[in-house]
Amino acid sequence: MQYTPKHIPEGINTTQSHPLKELFVLLAGTAALIFSVIGIALVLSDKLVSYIPIELENKMFGESAAQAFEIKNSEEDEVLLDYLKGLVEKLQEGASEEQIPFTLHLIHSSTPNAFAFLGGHIGVTTGLLQHVQSENGLAMVLAHELGHHYNRDPIKGAGRGVILTLVFIGLLGIGGDDWVQSIIADATTVGMLSFSREQERKADEFGKQLLAAHYGHSAGADEFFESLKNQQNKKNDIPEFLSTHPNPEERIKFLKTNTPQQLTPLPELVKEYRINQNKQSNLATAESD
């Protein structure tokens, strides 16, 4: 037997791959897997949560939000609320789907805003009343918020919030550091309260539909947003509403009608309410001086 000493070449029992590249590939694969699982869970949650009937949603969450809004309504507040409720009910008749129960709330704040959230709640601030000139404009805002409820946007947001919270609990364990928990809590709340662009667009469409059904046209739908834009241009500060509802130009374009139409004026009680509000806020500023 002949033995010829020879050095065996490298790389037979090992793979020539750079470890950092391998780490990157594996981590990218893991991240892709996690994100796709989360994505699927969110889509499923949206679909499944829509099957919860509105009556059940209102029963579950109707009380809690009302308690959060424990505001003492004065008599003129009640009168205004009655009018608004009547307006919304009339607008609802133009909806193609079955009508839904809702609860209106009046929030005493000079910041113009309108909300729709879990339990069939629709809230408008007194500040919003200062930014509408006709009943059409007011009706658009109310119909838009109603549209969110028809599309089940609040409960979809809640479902997503639950999924994301579960994911974070799973990843970080219950009781991570305090600051991490507060970040997660904030993110989930924001996720629950804000609606996606698509959802806002659908609500706009719904509102326009209801306006057309009730008034025969949808003129005046862009009133509120135009008013906010003017305020922004005049005062050079962004109204809070615009910071949470981006791209008002697109919405104004969508909601505008080119042919001028007869707009229904605001009823006297609304105008009186506005004057009283202004008087009270002037008094308040005078007292604080």
């Binding site: 037997m1 050095h7 029992n13 793979t15 470890p19 780490l23 594996l26 893991t30």
Partner: protein, 154 residues
């Protein structure tokens, strides 16, 4: 959160030092293999040198190499997805060659002309107590019969 930072720090440490040590070790192994090329190491049970008369000595070489956190992380991800765990391949390669080299060097110190009937065995130390903080290590033992010709010392 602290545990995450600690983990990342250990992984980075493992990568930097682990790669550096591995390179050094490979250089050392290749040099010694070249030096000991003249003595064959076989798993045959007999060899021509025996015909001239030789004494057999049991020789063995063993080595324990530890796994660093970086390799562990790569292996963990691989265990999930499947495929070759390349981070452990170099570990095993180094350990095997080192063990065989140590056995050879022992044999050469006896004056052997060849080492026959060699067997290589691998063990994983600390497999029993797999608690969270510990990191495993791999042990390789290579043993065989060193053939020293009878006229060596004469």
């Amino acid at each position: 959160m602290f545990e995450l930072y600690l983990f990342l720090a250990l992984v980075a440490l493992g990568y930097i030092f682990g790669q550096w040590i591995e390179k050094k070790h490979y250089k050392d192994i290749i040099r010694r293999e070249k030096e000991t090329l003249s003595v064959p190491v076989v798993s045959l049970k007999s060899y021509p040198v025996m015909e001239q008369g030789a004494t057999g000595h049991l020789v063995s070489g063993n080595v324990v190499i530890s796994i660093d956190r970086f390799k562990q992380l790569l292996a963990g991800l691989r265990n999930f997805f499947g495929g070759r765990v390349t981070s452990y391949e170099t570990l095993l390669d180094r350990a095997r060659r080192e063990a065989v080299l140590r056995m050879k060097e022992r044999a050469i110190s006896y004056g052997a002309k060849a080492v026959i009937n060699i067997k290589i065995e691998t063990a994983s130390i600390s497999k029993g107590r797999s608690n969270k903080g510990s990191v495993g290590s791999v042990e390789v033992v290579a043993y065989g019969t060193a053939l020293v010709p009878n006229d060596f010392l004469k």
